[in-house]
Amino acid sequence: MRRIARYDRLKALVLILLAIFFAEKLVSGRLYYYIGPRFGWLSVVAVGLFIILAGGYNPPKRAEGEHEPAEHPDHTDDHEHHDHDHGKPTLWPIGVVALPLILGVLVPARPLGASAVSVSNRGVSTDFVASAESSESTLSVVASERNVLDWVQAFAANPDPASLAGQQADVVGFVYRDIRFANDQFMVARFTITCCVADASAIGLLVQADDASQFASDSWVRVAGTFGEGQLDGEALPVLLADQITPVQPPEQPYLYP
């Protein structure tokens, strides 16, 4: 009994810490390193439920003279004993449930960037398949306001490398390079996610500039320039001829949401 009660307190502690963990992610905005903003309310629900469940380990308050429900005689019957022998009130499952906390504290929180492109081996797509509706809504976005995703969709809607030529763009993203890129090229890339980072995929625009090599891979930049026709590894693509590239802080919402 005493052993189980001790684990009760530990479980209550883990639940409270999980509530704090979710609340901290919500308040700091780092929740959106992990999930899309339209699911933020679910984490609010989680904070509340973690606290309510932790309350389940609080011994119930009863009027004096009444016995506690935990003292019911069926505690000692054979069936319970059998359960106890093979039962799971061991420490390690609680440790596994606490693993998100441990990793969340020990490993620095960082949104997916260029290194994740290489790790997942997915590559950065210059093409984005979207439902017809979202492509239409993209084309209604004023050109100067378009982000990386809008431009990639605009190109997908009219896949002619010359279709964007002459248009001015001003976009923010992280620098991505692989072996296909020339010295004066990189890609300004973003991850798009639908629900959480588990479904992240990278998209990007080819950038060309004389000073391109000055910007480190995975650093965040703002690129302003004009589209022209270019080539990457033999494939004709629109290329953003940069007038100005400035290093910037990662945006609060690091991902784009199709």
Binding site: S43, V45, L53, D83, K88, V97, S115, R122, R177
Partner: protein, 308 residues
């Protein structure tokens, strides 16, 4: 670009926490539902409500999905609780497989992604069909109790929540407290599988390139299998998978996208691990293989015979 070990650990952690943060609220809702069922629904109530005929029981199990807005994380603890309350195996297995598809939240998200049309109707119709079929197959087992691992209920969970402890005479406050206590214990029990499943899913995603899977997936047969494999590996919640499947609509056949939408909610890495907490190993295998084959047949049939 070479990727440092540290970068890999950080990215892996980000994907893992992404899956966990997205799934944990649903598991919490499922365990709370399970705790409330334990305290407020008696075995007698349940047996009075349920038909003894396996076919009817399976249909009831499918329809029950509409009443519980749970996804594949929340449905497992709830089903286990209902089994403990004496739910027939046919109804329970059907409920387990159908509820993550046939529920109001998934209906709404599928409608938001696809509108009212063939995808919506086929997802719910075929999803229910497969769930009922698997439930019936399970009901042929002569000793249904042997399939379940009910003895794994922990004492901490059994004791305060057992019928003796939760007498209807207890004041509502005490019973609610007991329900929360049961839910909390169950969160730890099922959370174990959720965390390990999320770790595996994150690992698979950082090791198996998605582009490789997608490159394999052309043709009426291969595309279906690839989308089923993808649904298994991604392990995304059934309440949002409709939005994710949109990204594949133009590259994959309708049959393949539908098999993603029907198989994914029934079986994925994390729900597979949670099944092992409810069923004996052998029956977990049936629970994975039967839906896989049935959904595959449906997907291939649609690809070959229906010009959508």
């Amino acid at each position: 670009m070479p990727v440092s070990m540290l970068d890999q650990v950080i990215n892996f952690t980000t994907v893992f926490l992404g899956i966990f943060i997205e799934a944990a609220p649903f598991l919490l809702l499922g365990t709370v539902a399970s705790g409330l069922v334990e305290v407020f629904v008696s075995k007698e109530d349940l047996s009075r409500m349920l038909p003894s005929n396996p076919v009817m029981a399976a249909l009831v199990g499918g329809v029950m999905g509409f009443a519980f807005p749970v996804c594949e994380c929340g449905v497992v603890p709830l089903t286990r609780r209902l089994f403990k309350k004496g739910l027939p195996v046919a109804a329970g297995v059907t409920f387990l497989l159908a509820a993550p598809i046939v529920n109001p939240v998934v209906l709404a998200s599928t409608f938001a992604a696809y509108g009212f049309g063939k995808v919506l109707i086929a997802r719910f119709g075929f999803g229910l069909l497969v769930a009922v079929a698997v439930g019936l197959i399970f009901s042929f087992n002569p000793s249904p109790a042997a399939m379940l691992r009910l003895q794994t209920f922990t004492p901490g969970e059994d004791t305060p929540g057992s019928e003796a402890a939760a007498m209807p005479a207890d004041p509502l406050k005490v019973r609610l407290h007991q329900a929360m206590r049961i839910a909390a214990d169950e969160f730890f029990e099922m959370g174990l599988y959720l965390v390990i499943g999320s770790l595996l899913a994150a690992l698979m995603q950082t090791v198996v390139p998605q582009s490789l899977l997608l490159a394999l997936g052309s043709g009426p047969f291969a595309s279906v299998v690839v989308m089923q494999a993808l649904a298994f590996v991604l392990s995304v919640c059934s309440t949002v998978d409709a939005f994710i499947s949109l990204a594949f609509v133009n590259t994959f056949s309708t049959g393949a996208v539908l098999s993603f939408l029907i198989f994914g909610p029934m079986v994925d890495i994390k729900s597979l691990l949670m099944f092992t907490g409810v069923f004996q190993r052998k029956f977990v295998a049936y629970l994975v293989v039967l839906p896989f084959l049935m959904v595959m047949l449906i997907g291939v049939f649609i690809n070959l015979n229906v010009s959508w």
